[in-house]
Every structure is written in structure tokens, then in C-alpha cells.
Symmetry: C2
DNA sequence: AAATACATACCAACCAGTTGGTATGTTCAT
DNA sequence: ATGAACATACCAACTGGTTGGTATGTATTT
């Protein structure tokens, strides 16, 4: 029963979810108050607790919302186009690199930010964030598996473990970007990750990276 | 200099620093209250504000303390022994992997945890954590530079950028370990990082996969 | 004597969550 | 077609407990 299209401005629930993504990513979960969320969403506290039983419930719903938003973004992203699976994996990394625009609060991961802070205090939040992160890994595993079969690869590592490593590099890149106050260090990490994937599937002749743009 | 010998017990300031490392790493900065820190350290609030002007000041002092503790740990670690610089770098990664014991709160990084949460709210905390992280990178750069000169390497990346990538992998590994509730995923990331470094310094020309054994 | 190192008691602001209410539908027997 | 019964969406004011921080005291060291 989606009546959202009929309404002019987004519902209070929707605006609270958007506020959660913005504020939790910028300030962290604990430092963000319910009043701040209400103010950012333009709703009252009564509306907040009408739609969410607690601040924690908004955090969990926010993780699911974040997962669906990013899921849609990556699903329709252009990196799936190459016929060669290795090129799709490299294009994914380039796509992630291209996303590193603006401030850390704008490109960092909601799930990674919240789980680091709340993994012990809130099992529900931990699990919602873990699902978000590892489900995203699942969207990469087929391309990597196809690359393994087409190019051959060492059997000591699995496609799934490389997807997790990829997410770790990105999550760590966000941390370093926040520390440095600059996205440049995160871009560097994407380049190292790309080089790793290239080297993993390169048998002969070290070729310097291509100019890119397919 | 044993802390628990017949001498007096550690000073209140020292115990507060130890409490800061334990609680901030486990619960995050904002969710940890001054009262909790005092209770964990076995001191009163008066003692707290005698030694630190604010909770934030304890956070900053904790970052410096963390930097000196880890600095000493890595300085006397055995990974410096190999004569070959590449072996020293690989031994560093193996040492980091060996450190992944117990719960995430026990092996994660104080600086990484705090800077992710507080980089916007507290510039002082952000800078103290950034110094901690990037100073540690500095302890690796010479070994990597020596490896570059001895083995040769692509000029598109620098030794300093590889130290930062290394820290990103570790910081991201901590995030994923917190999400998964298991250190295994972090160990995997160390293995991928080790493989990357190995591949970087394998002959740029020739078949790297023959005779490979991880 | 005077600084240092604590301890006790306290506070104003703030916090997540509650209460009791209004406005606007929607359902359905009459 | 209409009005009672009910449901949804939202609001302003309030509450009990918590927060970081302070004021003021006392014991110990120098």
C-alpha cells in the first residue's frame, strides 16, 4: 500500500529516514539527538515516536533504507556493462572511486559508521548494518567468481573473501579520509585496490594501468 | 617497573587513561560517560576534573597515550629482524594479523574508532587521532622505500601511499570484524594485503604464478 | 605554608520517551 | 446518505533520569 506518490511532500516517516542518514553519518549515532532528527525532518517528537518506537528503531530502519538506496544505485550503475568479468570488477572499483566526492560525511557508509560505534551496545543495529554490508558483498561475488574461472587464480583465496577485502579497503578509506579531512587518501586506496585485483589476474608482463574510460 | 608491584598503585591519571582506552574502544566516545570512566578507573569525579579539563581532553590525551603504547609495541616487535626489507614489510603484516586475538574491542584501534565518530564534532580529537594513525604510517615508509629500491616497483605509487593503504585495510578490517562479530574476516583482509605486497614486488616481467605457494 | 591530589555534594542543561490531545480520513450498519 | 466507531498521522507540553561540569572541602606531600 504505497500512497507516497499521491502526496505532495514526502511523509514524515520518509523525512525522518533521510534525516537519519544525513545526521548519523555526519555526527554518529549517540551524538545525534531525537530532537535534532525531528528538527532536520521538520516534524515533532510526537510524530517521531508515532513512526518509530525508539531512536534505535530509526537506526535499524535507516540501515535497511540505506541498503535499498545503495542497492538501487549500484544495480543501475554502468559498471555492469563490460562483457569481460574482470573489467566489470575493475569498473566497480572505479565507480566506488568516482563516488568519493565532497566531504567524508557525504561519501562515507552509514552502516560502517554506525556499526563501529554501536556493535556492542545494540545487537539489532549491529545486525542490520552487517546485513547491509555483507549483502552488498554478495552483489560482487559472481563477477569475481566468473573472473576467477576465466583468468584462473590462486586457490588459497575465495571470491567471497575478495569481496569482503574490497569492502574493508573502502571502509578503512573512509576512516582515513575522516582523519585526514580529505578524500584524496581514500582515492589512493581505491587505486591500490584496483592494482591488487589487476595483479591477481595478471599472469605475464606487468602492464601499467590504462588511461581508463573504457 | 611493574604496575602492580609493592609500589603505590598507578596514579589516578594513569588509571583514567587506561579506562579511556578500554571504554572508548568498546563503547565509543559519546556513549561513554565521565561517571563510567571514573568508576572503571576507581576515582571520583573530582579526581577526573583535577587531571583533565574535560572529557574531550581525556580523549586527546588517550590518543597520545595510545600512540606511545602502540609505538613501543611495534618498535620492539620482532618484524624488524629480517635483513631483506620486503621480508620486514611482510613480517609487519603477519604481526598485525597475529594481533587479531579476542574480541574486536580488544584488537581494534582507539584512534580509528574515535576519529570515525568525532571527526566533525571535535577538531582536537580528530587531529590527535590523525597524528596517531599517520605517525604510525611513518614507521613503515622506510622499509617500503628500501623494498622499492631493492626490488623495483611501478612509479605510479609511492611508499607513503602504500603505508596509508595498509592502515586503511586494517581499519576497514576492524569495522568488518565488528559487523561480523568475528575476527576471521579481519584475518582474511591481512592475507589479501600480504598477497598484494608480494605481487607488487614480484618481477614486473615474467610469470609470477609459476612455483607460487602463497 | 603552599601546592598537589584527591573527595563530596551539587547543578543546570539535556536526554529519550510519555502523555493527552487534535485533525483527518475510512468503515460500515442503518 | 449519514452518523457512529474506529484508525492513522501528527502535535505541544511534560517527565524522570542522566549528563558534563563546578564549588568547596580535606589529606598528603614538598
Amino acid at each position: 500500500m504505497d500512497a507516497t506518490s499521491a502526496q505532495r511532500k514526502p511523509s514524515a516517516r520518509q523525512r525522518l529516514l533521510d534525516a537519519a542518514l544525513a545526521l548519523f553519518r555526519a555526527q554518529g549515532y549517540t551524538a545525534t539527538t531525537v530532537d535534532q532528527l525531528c528538527a532536520a525532518a521538520g516534524v515533532t517528537k510526537g510524530a517521531f515516536f508515532h513512526h518509530f518506537t525508539s531512536k534505535e528503531a530509526l537506526g535499524v530502519a535507516g540501515a535497511e533504507y540505506w541498503g535499498s538506496m545503495t542497492g538501487a544505485l549500484f544495480e543501475q550503475a554502468p559498471y555492469h556493462q563490460p562483457a569481460d568479468p574482470l573489467q566489470r570488477v575493475l569498473a566497480y572499483i572505479d565507480f566506488r572511486r568516482a563516488l568519493l566526492q565532497g566531504t567524508p560525511a557525504e561519501f562515507c557508509c552509514y552502516a560502517g559508521t554506525l556499526v563501529q560505534e554501536m556493535y556492542q551496545a545494540s545487537p539489532a543495529l549491529r545486525e542490520a548494518c552487517a546485513t547491509c554490508i555483507f549483502d552488498h558483498c554478495g552483489t560482487l561475488v559472481e563477477d569475481i567468481e566468473a573472473t576467477r574461472q576465466q583468468y584462473g587464480a590462486d586457490e588459497v583465496w575465495t571470491a567471497a573473501s575478495l569481496t569482503r577485502h574490497t569492502q574493508a579497503v573502502l571502509q578503512g578509506a573512509f576512516v582515513l579520509a575522516k582523519a585526514a579531512g580529505d578524500a584524496a587518501v581514500a582515492v589512493e586506496c581505491c587505486e591500490h585496490l584496483r592494482r591488487y585485483v589487476e595483479l591477481l589476474f595478471k599472469a605475464p608482463v606487468g602492464r601499467p594501468q590504462t588511461g581508463e574510460s573504457a
